[in-house]
């Protein structure tokens, strides 16, 4: 009986945690006021977690574009279709690689810092002090960081894609000597705005929401100790990465 209860508890705990996380999301969204101070706070966080992630996103995007072109040219040359490289790079970037890789990089760069920051605020009683001042820490601390993440990830994805295309252009045209007219015309005619580009934007919005929610929730529910904050930070990267890949499959199934 005790063993059954233990197994039941073990399996029901993730569901309970997911429920608590959703309740946390609803409490955050209930605090959306669009007041001047809230908008300023969201903009400030967008700078801190979004703009400051820009360099790493751009560097990674550039090299992903280059390596994609390299692999695509190698593969397509076998069929005499190396002029299709921009089509392959564009479609795979806008549909999959841009949103997914940006979300994974964002989880590692910004998600961890958000979890650690909120966890440390909890460990040093700053959240308790806020509650005692009749200030809701979920609205004051968690909401601006969550909203900033949802706004930042699509913008960062756009930058990732732009730099990836640039990397691809430099490699395919500059290094491999492909015709630039062919490259751009294939990209223009083969990549569809609605199906490819907007689909990617939807994905990046959802991924931004997932990574940001996991980051603020784990920070807020972290044990108020050094080890607790460390564990919460690790969990943020692991869980948000897994969830991004799961939701990528689910969304791709519906969007295509």
């Amino acid at each position: 009986m005790a063993v059954e209860q233990s197994i039941l508890r073990k399996w029901s705990e993730p569901a309970a945690e997911a429920g608590r996380c959703l309740l946390f999301l609803f409490r955050m969204l209930a605090g959306l006021r669009f007041s001047v101070s809230q908008i300023l706070s969201i903009l400030q966080q967008s700078y801190l977690i979004g703009a400051r992630s820009l360099v790493i996103i751009m560097i990674c995007g550039f090299f992903v574009g280059m390596v994609l072109s390299l692999q695509a040219i190698n593969a397509l040359e076998q069929f005499g279709a190396s002029d299709q490289v921009s089509l392959l790079v564009g479609k795979s970037l806008f549909r999959e690689l841009g949103p997914v890789l940006t979300a994974l990089l964002f989880a590692g760069r910004a998600g961890t810092s958000v979890t650690a920051e909120i966890g440390l605020m909890k460990a040093t009683n700053q959240l308790e002090a806020m509650e005692l001042m009749a200030i809701d820490p979920i609205q004051r601390i968690a909401l601006p960081r969550f909203a900033a993440g949802v706004i930042s990830v699509p913008l960062l994805t756009a930058m990732f894609n732009a730099l990836a295309i640039l990397g691809s252009v430099i490699f395919a045209i500059g290094v491999m000597g492909l015709d630039s007219g062919v490259y751009w015309s294939k990209l223009q005619t083969g990549v569809y705005f609605q199906k490819d580009f907007i689909g990617g934007v939807w994905k990046s919005l959802v991924f931004g929401g997932i990574v940001s929610l996991v980051a603020v929730y784990f920070g807020y529910s972290a044990k108020p100790t050094g080890a607790g904050v460390g564990t919460a930070t690790t969990n943020t990267v692991v869980l948000s990465s897994v969830l991004v890949l799961i939701f990528d499959f689910i969304m791709t199934s519906f969007l295509t």
Binding site: M121, N125, A134
Partner: protein, 274 residues
Amino acid sequence: MNTDTSTSRKADNTAIRIRDLVFRRGRRTILDGVSMDIPRGSIVAFMGPSGVGKTTILRLISGQLHPDEGSIEVNGQQVSAMSNRELHHFRRDIGVLLQDGALFTDLTVFENIATPVREHTNLPEALIRRLVMSKLNAVGLGGIEERMPHELSGGMARRVAFARAVALDPAIMLYDEPLTGLDPIAVSTIRTLMRETNDALNLTSIVVTHNVDQMRRLVDYCYIIASGRVAGHGPPSELSASADPSVDQFMNGKVEGPIPFHYQPPEGPWGLLD
């Protein structure tokens, strides 16, 4: 008639009334039938050994925890019966100084003190600035408003936290170990601030501490908590000479007495004979 008036006056003079308070964590009973009256305008200490439930009483008064039994009345309002919205309003009238100050580390000293003012008032920025600067000057720290919390010493951080706690001129101040970990000069400074602020604004202050010497110089009245109950109460001078064994042991720092050394007494001699 006279008795009624006298009773009513006495009732009006009680800022915080706690009756038969019981609080449990799991199977463990932390507080078991605690009753106390905190008169308006006084500084009252909750004293006792570490882990006895002093901070728990503060959290019950501020509505962070809910009692299992009994009642807490603050300025005529039942705290345990308050909704979240009522608690929100109630806490605007309470200032809390936590043990480590709990300053917001990403904000300057100025923004730390301005935070509760901005949140709960619609004052223009010029007036907020004047208010914050007056609070900062009152704690003797004028000129440090642009510093970050990590640039302050422990005593300065505690004074800034004090300024933040009184920023909205609360009616009740709750202090959780306010003098712990400070040097003697900082201790005297904070102690003087607490006394002067309490008297000037006619606040009601509760101080949780286990520092007997400091409290003798500061508070008007003491409650000694031991084994989940009020072991004794009275002015600090009277408590030192108390005949109650628990109070005598705590006030005079004796090892032997009813307050045990072991959290849970061992069943055998350290299990060597098991």
